[in-house]
């Protein structure tokens, strides 16, 4: 038995152990391992450990590597990586004090009290690749159920003290997610979903996925307009599909679980809570999931490709922004190419075809191409395997009299209606990502011109000779190219509207004055 470091040869890393058998296993034969191990839970960190009387027991047993592509795939534990394991059956006995309320990623088979004041709970779970559990005497149990295409699902919510007001928000988000995933992507085959709300001080255990058990997160005074409990519930539930059942390699292709899951988070949250209000919903400020993913991606869009191994990213921010948010915006932008319904159908096909297996990124992309019937290599090469940044800009738009030299003609009021104007509209590709764009030009006489540009060259210029002047010009009028780094330069409106700038100034002036007044309290 020896520790190995397949990823970085760091000999101080003791997270992977290799066992050399005394003799080879013959074809068709098997070998049984009995592993005795001892855990000491840390104070909660990286989604596992204890906080007060709360225990979140995740990643707690030695996991067997995955025999995959004719080799053992077993990576070291890195700061940015999650996990990869094979499917199996878990029979787990948990002995805890009798006052503990336990939740686990399995069906409770039996419960027995012991003379020493403990109880032993036995759980059984099939077709899963991990098993986690939680215990606390302070949980309040909320039971609910939902019936989908494969029968009823029991929902167990274990809520921590002070968080009771979020119970129904969690439940509503979970049931909504179950319903839409069932309709859109495929059936949820398990008969249970355990949701764990970590207590005050145990937030590091929140926002994590395990098969049929997810951990959430809220606050004592969580405003209704901040949809954090809903977002985390949807996201971690989504992992039941993209990680739990479609069990991709999170070390090597983290985008396949976190990224696809972030995309479906946008779709589900927008459907449940409104396109522009699915993250923040106040009368004075709003934010939708699409916007959330966009700003996550745009924070640092060009350092790493989506396809990079998780532990090789430039830094943690790049890992998060690219893996989660760029993948989501990449798929949202793909909707413009193949259509939203087609992409949904592709995800359905991908899920049904690869559930309970370990597909790769290639499997995913090929499924999209197959369902859409389109060759999308040009897109995936840039968006998935490249670091190109997409930014198209409406560089110039103006109208001038066609006979500009004929002063007499356009000085005369009589001839105003007959004046022919030449309108120029110039679109520039500022980034290195090539993507087809649609241009919509509106004129003062309410006529419209539309153009489709393949976006290959650095710029394109259109001109129109009409008896009217330009009113506005806009590329991507329906805001479908979410990968566009700067959507403020996508349009030009002839009549300037300073309202947005004035709104911002109002806020800034007030903030400045208010700071002055606060400091003036000292005088």
């Amino acid at each position: 038995m020896q520790f190995i470091q397949p990823d970085d040869k760091n000999t101080d890393d003791h997270t992977v152990v290799q066992i050399t058998l005394p003799k080879p296993i013959a074809p068709g034969a098997s070998v049984e391992f009995h592993i005795v191990f001892h855990d000491v839970l840390p104070k909660v960190v990286e989604r596992t450990g204890y906080a007060h009387d709360f225990d979140m027991v995740g990643q707690w047993f030695p996991k067997v590597g995955v025999w995959w592509k004719n080799a053992w795939n077993c990576h070291q534990f890195h700061a940015n990586t999650e996990f990869f394991a094979d499917f199996g059956t878990f029979d787990v006995k948990i002995t805890v004090p009798q006052n503990e309320i336990v939740g686990a990623g399995g069906d409770l088979v039996s419960s027995a009290t012991n003379p020493d004041g403990t109880k032993t709970l036995t759980y059984h779970s099939e077709d899963v690749h991990d098993f986690s559990w939680t215990a606390s005497p302070s949980f309040t149990v909320v039971e609910d159920s939902w019936t989908g295409s494969q029968g009823p699902v029991k929902i167990h919510l274990l809520i921590s003290p002070g968080h009771e007001s979020s119970s129904q928000r969690y439940i509503k988000a979970a049931k909504g997610s179950l319903q839409l995933f069932d309709e859109w992507y495929g059936p949820y085959p398990y008969d249970r979903l355990t949701m764990v709300d970590p207590p005050h001080g145990g937030a590091d255990a929140g926002g994590m996925e395990y098969p049929t058990l997810i951990t959430l997160g809220t606050g004592v005074h969580m405003p209704q307009g901040v949809l954090a409990p809903e977002v985390v519930t949807e996201h971690e539930f989504g992992h039941q599909y993209w990680y739990g059942m479609v069990a991709t390699n999170e070390f090597e292709e983290a985008w396949l679980d976190e990224g696809i899951n972030s995309y479906t988070e946008v779709k589900v949250m927008d459907a449940l809570y409104g396109k522009n209000t699915s993250v923040l919903n106040f009368p004075f400020a709003q934010m939708g999931e699409s916007g959330l993913q966009q700003i996550g991606y745009l924070a640092d869009p060009a350092k790493d490709p989506i396809s990079r191994f998780a532990w090789l990213f430039y830094n943690n921010n790049s890992y998060g922004g690219i893996t989660y948010s760029k993948t989501a915006t990449m798929l949202l932008t793909l909707e413009k190419v193949i259509g939203e319904d087609t992409l949904r159908q592709a995800l359905h096909t991908y899920f049904m075809r690869y559930r309970f297996t370990h597909p790769t990124g290639e499997d995913f992309l090929k499924t999209i191409e197959e369902v859409s019937g389109k060759d999308l290599h040009w897109y995936f090469n840039q968006a998935v395997y490249g670091t190109q940044v997409l930014d198209y800009s409406l560089a110039d738009a103006h109208s001038d009299p066609l006979k500009w030299w004929d002063a007499a003609a356009h000085d005369s009021k009589k001839s105003d209606k007959d004046e022919i104007y030449r309108t120029y509209v110039t679109v520039v590709r500022k980034g290195d990502f090539q993507f087809p764009v649609d241009l919509e030009v509106k004129f003062e006489d309410h006529t419209t011109a539309t153009e489709h540009w393949d976006g290959q060259d650095r710029w394109v210029r259109y001109h129109y000779d009409r008896k009217t002047k330009i009113e506005s010009a806009q590329i991507d009028a329906h805001n479908q190219i979410t990968m566009d780094r700067d959507y403020f330069n996508n349009s030009y409106i002839e009549d300037a509207n300073p309202r947005a700038a004035h709104k911002l100034r109002n806020i800034w002036v007030f903030a400045s004055e208010w700071l002055s007044q606060l400091l003036a309290w000292l005088t």
């Binding site: 007060h52 106040f282 934010m287 959330l292 996508n490 509207n497 709104k503 004055e513 003036a520």
Partner: protein, 313 residues
Amino acid sequence: MAESNRGTFFSGAGLVWKWQRLVWWLFFVCLIFGFYSTQEMTERASFLLNNSAAAQRLVNGFDFSSIVTLQQLPDSPLEIQGHTILHFSILFVILMLFATGGILAAYVLGEKPTTTAFFEAAGHHFWRLFRLLIYLVIVLLPIAGLAAATNAIYTHIEDTSISPYPADHVVEAAAIVILLLLIIVRVWFDMAQVIAVADDEKKMHRALRRAFTLFRHNFFSLLWLYLRVSIIEWLLFALGLHVWMFHLNPQSVVAAFLVSQLMILTWIGTRLWQRASEAIWYRNYQANHAAAPAWSPAPEPMYMPVAAPSPQQ
């Protein structure tokens, strides 16, 4: 005392209303500083947004992701220039420190504050009030220590308690205590400022000592005088914020401007109300206790006329 306090309370409001030029003057200076401190950001925002259809996201509502995106723009991000705002705020504080002498002189004298009288009194008392500001910062240090201790206690309770409530309750209780202490300190220093101006007290440590004795003997009376105006101030501010955030049409710029500026105006007005009430209270106190001042022994001739010449002179 309650009866006379009520009189002082309304007299203070009357004085502020009567000489509202002071309120407007401070308000417009604050507004001009606010405009100047945000000018560069506004020009940049106008350049980015005025001709862009995407600006509608900020017009029809307030899309938070658009604001972040504006800040993330690669070529010319829209940066919030906090340092400029801070510089103008510090400038306003200096100006307020200067103006306080003139304001208090007007309120103590109860005579119309002409421009000449105002600026003479402001200049005459500036360094005294500046020294008081230094003392105030020193006095606030233990309160800052209390806030730090509260944070440590909060962290300890959070580590040991499964329920979030004990830690929250500690913070809430500490916040009330700290707020009360801040108010007490402010009233104490307000009275020291009044004494410095009304009695032309040159020694600020003596003004502080006299104000402390005065406040100690009239603790609830002075505290309530200040606190009830503060409550009105906070309620008006909360009301304004509520109207702005929840009831105004998101597209409205003018209404939002008016509401936000009304909040600042009432904030300045109520602060001057506190100062006017305190000045009147002291004037009345002097009149009632001329023969036997509350503090003893009297260190200097205490009832000298204020330094600021009256308009008749």
